[in-house]
Each structure stands twice: as C-alpha cells, then as structure tokens.
Amino acid sequence: MSPLHLCLAFSSVLFAVGLAGALARSNSILVLLGIELMLNAANLNFIAFWRYGPAPSSATGVIFVIFAIAVTAAETAVGLALVISIYRHQQSIRLQEATRLKG
C-alpha cells in the first residue's frame, strides 16, 4: 500500500469513528467531539492529497487546512456556548431533550 492509500484509509476510519460517536452519544459535548473528528478526517485528506499529489510545491492544501481549523475553532466556541446555554435552561445537556425548536 502506498502512503496515500494508508492516509486515506486512516482518515476514512477516523471519519467513521467520528460519525459513529456523533450519532451514538447523547451527551452534547461528545457529539461536538465526534463532529470535530469528522472535520479532522477531511483535513487529513487535504494534507494527504497535497503531499502525495501531482504538484506538492504550492501550499494549497496546508492553507485550506489552516482555514478549516480556524473556522472549526470558531464553530466549536459557538457550539460550546450553546451547550452551556442549554444546560442553564434545562439542567441537562442530553441532546435528545433539546428539541424545543421543532416545527
């Protein structure tokens, strides 16, 4: 197996783990954690395609990843703030119970 394949396989596993965590856990923070894992799997793919791709000289992959990490950080901050706010309202962070915004 070439290093690219190894990387892709690893990121696939990481994405699957993240998805499983996000779907299976009921703790909001852990769901957020799962989503982070899925994002990082995508970031890993960017790095792998840049490192072993046809033109490694331009730093496009790295730039993409840096931007994605920054956006993710902001998103995580908003997500955690929401979690705190939900906890204040209903003394629980179980995702199944936070259904007030349903149609």
């Binding site: 779907l23 995702l95 199944q96 936070a98 259904t99 349903k102 149609g103």
Partner: protein
C-alpha cells in the same frame, strides 16, 4: 351742528342696535326693551335733524360716502350713504312719526305678554326703513327693502296664534315678493348695463347724466329704451311695497297686526318705501321722456297705475265696515295719488304728499287704535258709535286727521299736498284722465271719511263695549296731539305762496305764486270736498245709525254695487280663481312629475345600483374569495407538512445527512464517477 355724511349710517344703526338688544332681552325685560327702542328712535331723530341741517346747507348737492363692500372679479361691489334734502326729509319724517308711534305703543301694548318682542321688531322695522332711505347704492337699498318686508311679516303676524294674522302675514310677504322679483331683475339688468349700482358716484352713478344718456339710447325690440324697461321692473317692486293695483291685496289684510304696526306700515315705513324709491330713481325712470318716438314711457304706466289705484281704493273704502280696513283702503287710495304725482312728473308733489300723509295717516291709525283699545278690540263700525262724549281727545285728533285726509281747505296739510298733485296732473300734456280720477277720488275720500267719523264717534253707543269706553292714558293721547299738530303744520311748508319744501327738495328756487294760483282748479276741488262732506253728513251724520243691525243707507240705495265694493271688487276671489288655481294646478303637475317621472327615474337608478351590487357580491364571494381561500389553504398545508419534519432532534438531522451522504457516495462509486 351738522351730521357729516360719513356718520349717516348711525341713523339706521341706532334702531338696529335697539333691535339687537331687544332680541336678547328676556320676556320680563319690558322696560329695557321699550326704553332702548324709544331712546334709539330719539337718537335717530336728533341725528336726522342734524343731517337735515347739513343737507339744507347746499340743497342741490348730493353728498355721498362710498366704500367697497367686497371684490368681485375685476371690480368691487360698492355700498354707500347719500345725503340730500330728499333723504334728510324722509329720515326726519320716519324717525319722528316712528318715535310717536313707539311711545303710543307703550300704552297700547301694555297688556300684551310679548311686549319685549314687539319693541324688538318695531326697532328692526324702523332700522330697515332708515337703511332704505340713507342708502346710496341700489343694492344696499334692496337689502333694507327686503328687511322691511321681513319686519312687516313679523309684525303683521305678531299675533300669529290667530290664523287670520298668520295668513295675512304670509299674504303680505308673498305679494310684495312678487313685486320684488321685478325689482331684483331690474337691478341685475341695471348692473349689467352700467356696471354700477351706486346712485351718485362723482359722475359714474346710475342717476347721473351720462349713464342715463347711455341707458336711454340703448334700444330694445319695439323701440323701448333700456331705461324704460329697467324703470318699469323697479316700479314692480315699488308697486308691491306701496300697495298699488294689482298688488294692493295684502294691505287691507295687514290690518290683522296690532294697530301701532298698521300705523307704522301705513305712514312711515313700509308703503312709503315704494313712493320714496320711485322719487329716488326719478332721473332714471324719467330718462326716456326725451324720446318722443318711444311707444311707451315708464312714467305713463306709473301715472295710469296710480290713477287706477287712487280711484279703486277710495271706491272700495266707501263700502267697508271694519274701522281699520277703511283706513287701509284710504291708504291705498292716497298712495295712488302719490304714484299719480310721480307719473305726471312731479316727484316733489309726491314727496310733499308722502310727508303730510305720514303725519295724518299715523294720526288716524293711532286715534283709531286708541278707540279700539277703549272698546276692547271691537273694530266693526256698526258696533261703535257715540264715542265723542267719553273720548274727547281721541275724537278731536281723529277729526283733525280726517279733515286733513279729506282735504278740508286752507288749514289742513292734506289740502295743500293734494292740491299740488292735482295741479301737477292738470298740467300733464299726455292725458287728463289721471286728473279726473284724482278729482273723483277727492269726493269719495271726503265722503267715506265723513261716514267713518259719523259712524264711530257720533250718535248713540250701539254696543255695551262702546258705551263703557273711557279715554286712553296720556302716553297714548300725547302722541296723538303731537301728530295732530304735525298734520296741520307740515302743510304750510309747501304752500304755493311759500314753496320752501319744493325749492329745498329740487335745490332750485321755486317762484312763489299767489295762493289762488290755478284758482279754478282749487275752487273745483273745494267744491268737490264740500260735496263729499255734505253727502256723508246727509247720509250718516244727520240721522245717525240707530242700531248695529240697521242697514247702511247706501246698501239700501244701491245694494248690488255696495255688495260688490264691500267684497273689495271681488279681486281677492279673482286672484284665488286665477293665480291661485294656476298655482295649485302647477303644484299638482309638479307633484306628478316629481312622483312618477323623476321619482321613477331615481327608483330605476337605485334598482340598477342594487342589482350591480348583488352581482358584485356574488363574483367577490364565489370567485375571488374562494380562489384566494383555496390557494392559501394549500400553502398553509404545505407549511404544516414541512414543519412536521422539523422534529428538533439533532441526531435525526445528522442521521439523515449521513444516510444521504452514503447514498450519494454509492451513486458516485457505482456510476463510475460520472
């Protein structure tokens, strides 16, 4: 001290103020209302005397004070005051006679509960007449003229709870209104041709030379001058107000008002207005005299109407039994004399007779009022009689008035003014018929006045009321004495030997003549007066009526003629049968037209509108509303369906996403990346 023309408006303003005060005074404020009215009349009299002095300082001048009332198009409607001897004499006469009548009313109306209202209306009456007199604009004159009509309506119908009084007030108002339509048309025409309604306006007034020349030179169809037509239209108004044939029918009925009102109407205010108007616009109405070719001169019509009225009024008066109605018909006859004088071209004689007539007719009415008051409002002369004994002052003053009206020579004023009229009529070069009518009227006047005097005051009392008659209080007899003095003295202002009034009115020196100027005519009229008096005395004085039911000597001599005259020549019936019928027919026609033609058309339109509304409603509810309702119901359903998908379960959303992703990935992989 003289009254400048700028302050002339004060003369009508004072009584108007009193009327305004009286209208807000409560019913119990009797002394306030009467005091204000009498004080205002006294003020007006003083101001009128000052105005007369100012006017006599230069009798040929026409002092004016004009001012714009409001702007209309390019010009302004002008009003103004005029001061000349004609106005000033009228003002003095109206306010002096008015004042005496007001004082008399204090006694006459004492028992009436609407005393306050009475004085309010009297003041309004006097104010409107004074407004007519001092106006320098025909428009202002017309305003005053209509106010006179209104006030007369209010006063004739003062006892409006009596149906006869209410009907008489209506009759007076409507009859004079018929004449006023002519007057108004004349004014509109005049304004259209000259652009002004001012009488004197520094050369541009309608009574000044070059405007009159224009009017007389405008020819209408048939060779009539515009001034003839305008003059005749204005004369219609004067004929209505002054009770000229054929519009005289309201005047006898106006006797339903209280007697002071009759005195005011017949002497100073209402009927004098028509004669005054024609004398005022005499330059206009006589402008066509120069046109020898004209088929008709306005003044000829005036003279003819005057002569007819003079004779007709005197003839009807012979056969009446109501004390006040006899006096009313004598007024009609005397107004006919004045119009006759105007028609034959001597407006000075007309005004002279107007002034003397004002005094002796006011005197006669007030004396009659005093007698009526004493016998508890019995007016039928057959029921009176024998009142000479208890009512000495009333009898003496009534006799003075009666002799003045009959024209007893040399002492009484009526003689001089009537002579002036007859003299003018004898010099008219168109026809001598007015003179003959006037001479016949002289006999009749002397006759019916003798009859009235004998029936009321001589003989024995013929009813319980007249046997208990008592002399009226001083507040009523003093005005009588003052008027009796006037009825004698005013005549000496204008005798042929000393024509002071004539020269002041015309503004030129009128040469004095010997008293026996035109001696044959004077002798003839003295003989006629003597004939009338003698006949009256022979029929009624020598053998006084024995009982109230005894027949009239004339009625036995000529029953049919007497009954015809007694029914006022059936003129009222004639009007009822012609104009009244015509009016009823027209009203019925208008009713049918309204009810069926116009009513039907309106009904049809309404039904059409109703039908359109019905259709609109159907379209709206069935079509548009239903369509909109369906569409919005659908949109609402779709919204509900979508909102059901929003469960709020974050896991559910994520799961959907993941499954969709897997499906997408499978599609991509199996489709070979295409």
């Amino acid at each position: 001290m003289k009254l400048p023309v700028e302050y002339l408006w004060l003369i009508p303003a004072l009584p108007l103020l009193a009327a305004a005060l009286g209208s807000v005074t409560p019913r119990r404020g009797r002394r306030l209302a009467a005091g204000a009215a009498i004080a205002a009349m006294l003020g007006a009299l003083v101001l009128s005397c000052l105005a007369l002095r100012a006017a006599l300082a230069d009798p040929s001048a026409h002092l004016t004070c004009n001012f714009p009332w409001f702007d209309l198009g390019n010009g302004a409607v002008q009003l103004g005051w005029l001061l000349d001897p004609l106005n000033a004499f009228m003002c003095v006469m109206v306010s002096a006679v008015g004042l005496l009548i007001f004082i008399f009313s204090l006694g006459y109306m004492e028992a009436d509960e609407d005393f306050t209202r009475f004085f309010c209306h009297l003041s309004l009456f006097a104010a409107s007449m004074l407004c007519v007199v001092v106006a320098n604009s025909l428009l202002l004159l017309f305003i005053g003229w209509e106010l006179v009509g209104l006030a007369s309506y209010l006063l004739i119908g003062f006892w409006f709870h009596k149906p006869a009084a209410a009907a008489a007030a209506k009759k007076a108002f409507i009859t004079t209104r018929i004449g006023d339509i002519g007057f108004l048309l004349g004014l509109v025409w005049l304004y259209d041709s000259t652009g002004s309604l001012l009488l004197y306006d520094g050369g541009n007034g309608v009574l000044e030379t070059h405007v009159l020349g224009d009017l007389a030179s405008q020819m209408l169809a048939g060779g009539l001058a515009a001034s003839t037509a305008i003059g005749l239209l204005i004369f219609c108004g004067a004929a209505g107000k002054s009770g000229q044939f054929p519009l005289h029918v309201w005047l006898p009925d106006a006797m339903e008002g209280p007697t002071p009102v009759s005195a005011l109407i017949h002497a100073a205010t209402m009927v004098a207005a028509g004669v005054f108007l024609i004398a005022r616009i005499f330059p206009l109405i006589s402008a066509d005299q120069e046109l020898a070719a004209a088929p008709l001169h306005a003044l000829t019509v005036v003279a003819a109407i005057g002569a007819i009225t003079a004779l007709l009024g005197a003839a009807i008066a012979v056969a009446q039994y109501d004390l006040k109605r006899i006096l009313a018909f004598s007024t009609i006859s005397q107004l006919g004399y004045m119009m006759l004088a105007l028609g034959v071209g001597s407006w000075v004689a007309a005004i002279f007779h107007l002034l003397t007539h004002a005094f002796f007719k006011a005197l006669l009415f007030l004396a009659a009022g005093s007698a009526i008051h004493a016998v508890h409002h019995e007016q039928d002369i057959r029921q009176l009689g024998g009142m000479r004994g208890p009512m000495r002052t009333t009898y003496a003053t009534f006799a003075v008035g009666m002799m003045a009206l009959a024209g007893v020579p040399f002492i009484f004023s009526g003689f001089w003014s009537k002579e002036a009229i007859l003299h003018a009529a004898s010099q008219w070069n168109v026809s001598h018929l007015p003179l003959y009518a006037g001479l016949a009227g002289v006999v009749l006047t002397a006759f019916y006045m003798t009859r009235l005097l004998c029936e009321v005051f001589w003989g024995a009392p013929r009813s319980p009321a007249s046997s208990h008659a008592r002399e009226s209080p001083a507040v009523m007899t003093i005005p009588l004495i003052a008027l009796a003095v006037g009825a004698i003295a005013v005549g000496f202002l204008g005798t042929p030997a000393w024509p002071w009034l004539q020269s002041r009115l015309t503004g030129r020196e009128v040469p004095a003549h010997s008293l026996l100027e035109g001696g044959s005519l004077m002798a003839l009229s003295i003989v006629l007066v003597a004939t009338g008096l003698g006949a009256g005395w022979a029929l009624y004085g020598r053998r006084p009526r024995a009982a109230a039911s005894a027949p009239d000597p004339l009625a036995t001599a000529a029953p049919r003629a007497f009954a015809f005259l007694g029914a006022r020549m059936k003129l009222d019936e004639l009007y009822a049968a012609t104009f009244g019928r015509l009016n009823t027919f027209g009203a019925a026609l208008a009713d049918i037209l309204d009810r069926w033609v116009w009513g039907g058309a309106v009904e049809l339109l309404a039904r059409l509108g109703e039908f359109t509304g019905f259709v609109n409603r159907g379209v709206d509810e069935g079509g548009l509303n239903k369509g909109f309702d369906t569409v919005s119901e659908r949109i609402r359903g779709a919204g509900r369906a979508y909102s059901r998908a929003q469960t709020g379960e974050a896991h559910g959303y994520l799961r959907t996403l993941a499954i969709a992703f897997v499906v997408l990935a499978l599609l991509v992989l199996l489709g070979g990346g295409r």
